[in-house]
Structures are given as C-alpha cells and as structure tokens.
Symmetry: C2
Subunit: 165 residues, 2 copies
Amino acid sequence: MTLEQAKQQFIQTWGNFGTQWGINRSMAQVHALLLVSDQSKCTEDIMTELSISRGNANMNLRELMNWNLIYKETVPGDRKEYFRAEKDMWEVAKRIMKERKRREIEPLQQHLTELKKVEQSYDSIAFVATIENIERLVNRLDGLSNTLMKADEHIFFGKILNLLK
Amino acid sequence: MTLEQAKQQFIQTWGNFGTQWGINRSMAQVHALLLVSDQSKCTEDIMTELSISRGNANMNLRELMNWNLIYKETVPGDRKEYFRAEKDMWEVAKRIMKERKRREIEPLQQHLTELKKVEQSYDSIAFVATIENIERLVNRLDGLSNTLMKADEHIFFGKILNLLK
DNA sequence: CACAACTTTCAATTATTATTGAAAATATTG
DNA sequence: CAATATTTTCAATAATAATTGAAAGTTGTG
C-alpha cells in the first residue's frame, strides 16, 4: 500500500466512522485530510483532493473551526486562507467532548429537568423516577467528561489504570 | 404538564438525541416509549402510540433486542409478543457501550492497524505517527469503556470522583 | 392439517440530510 | 476606488436513510 492509498483509505474510514456518530461525512473527511497532511491546505486543495464543491468545503471548514479542530493559517504573499488541523489527538478528543457537551448534553439536561415538573399523580411517580435515573446517569457521564477535559492524558489514564488494580 | 404530555415530550427528546448520535429516530422513540411505560407493550401498541408502521415497529424492536435494551415477555393466554425495556440506566449505558464497541470501535482499530502497513518512506513516517496517535487515543478510550462496563456504577463514579481531590 | 394469529421481509416510496454551484458579499491590491 | 481575488450564502438538486404496507413466512390452535 502506497502512502497516497493509505491516506485515501484513512479519509474514507474516518468519514464512515463520523457518519456512524452523527457527524457528516464531508466534515469528517476534511478533518481526516488535514490530519494526515503535513502542509496546510487551501479551500481549492480540499475541493480537488476530496472532489467536493466549494460550498461544501467552505461550510465544513467553517464548522471544523467552530469545533476548534482546525486553524486558519496565512501564507505570506498569498491572499487565500490555509488550514491546518490540531494534531494532538488528546486535544482533539477533549475539544470534541467539549463541543458535544455544549450542543447536546446540556440541552438534554435542560429537557430532563423540565420533564420532572410533570403534574404529580400516582402514575407520575414511576415516570419521574425513570427521568431521574436518566438524569443521574447523564450527570455522571458529564462529570466524567469534565474530569477528562481538565486532566492531562497520561495522568488521567494512569489513574484509571490504577483503579483496575 | 400532564403525565401523557411529559411522556410524549420525552419520546420526542430521546428521538432527537438519538439522531444526533447516529441512532435512528424511530428506534430511539420505541426505546423511550418502553422506558416510560409500566406495562410491557405489543407491536400493535407501539404502532398506535408512535404512529409508525408495522414494519418499522418490528425492525426497531428486533434491533433493540440485539442491543439488549429490551426484552420479550409473554402474556398468558395471548400469543402476541410483548416488550419491556431494561430500566436500570447504568445497565443501559453499559450495553450501548458494549454494542458500539463491537460494531464500530473494533472495526476502526482493525483499520488503523492495517494502515500502519503502508510502504515505508521518508514521508510515511509522519503519517504513521499520526495514525499511531489516533490508535493510542482509541485504545485508551476503549480501555476506559472496558473499565466502565466491568465496574459497578457507584464504585466507578466514586473512584473517579476521588481523582479530582 | 387447515385455519387464524402473528411476525418478518423487502421493493417501492417518502422524508431527511447533504451537496452543488452560481450569485452575492467581502476583502485585498495597486 | 475600480479591478480582482477570495469567501460566503442559499435555493435547487442529489444522495442517503428511514418508512411504509402488502405479501410471504412462521407459529400456535382446535
């Protein structure tokens, strides 16, 4: 397998993996492309290499910037924007967690809190108990992700490993 | 808000949340419906209450069984199948983790291992290093999920909490 | 074993989500 | 500030994924 083939393969794999987790294929592929390229790339490069349209490339580059997974870079004497990916995968993981927490977990917590305001009745007791169980789980996983986000990779996984002893 | 409204709301919320994580809306809704119902329900009930077709109900019930999130139950004197959800949310979380690990994480690990077999060259060094970083992260998160799956909820989160001290 | 009850399958359809590409907006240069 | 380069937007289109429903399959019953 040549390097080019391997990169293409990785882009495909990362794209498929993304879709399974609710991230659109193009966005995951743009991310993958930047993860495996040494040089920063401009919109044109990305359009060509992934065979996608300008609109698609632009939208997903913007979105990846919102997730803090890629950076803009300027090349002297060139007015195009160039992009480079954050390569520290522990950072990448933390930023993805942070963003999904903000966009999805927090709204879910809001909703669950609201649902507990259901009018009281004999039948609502079991319902509220179920919602509270879900809430407890979500809060704990959220707390875990907060710990992960604050912690250094090695310290965190080192300590987790100790738990197994 | 009446209990019925709250249940409907929860079903909607859970459905939306599911789609954001790559789980189809109907499956998440069927799961939500069973999570908040005291009695077990047959296909007909589910079709009516969620306004979905027989095929859809059947497929998602079957899939939820594959995930071990719901059980079949028999009602004496009735030959229909009835379904009930696992209500222990810690169990639910562990089973979802287990299934996603099997279906998605393990294949990803396979792929990454394959990619490292790229033909060696000056340029491939950086590529292999990136893949190895991704691999390391995936392996660690996988290890964490294994720990979670084996652990009791209280012990696990208790110990995690200690890490913060 | 014939009938009825129930479940499963799957090709066709519908709904949802992603993508395109050209036009509008914005930024940069001389 | 005009000319040009670059980025952004968004309505139209295409691709993907979910859903339907009727027919086929299966299971239980008298």
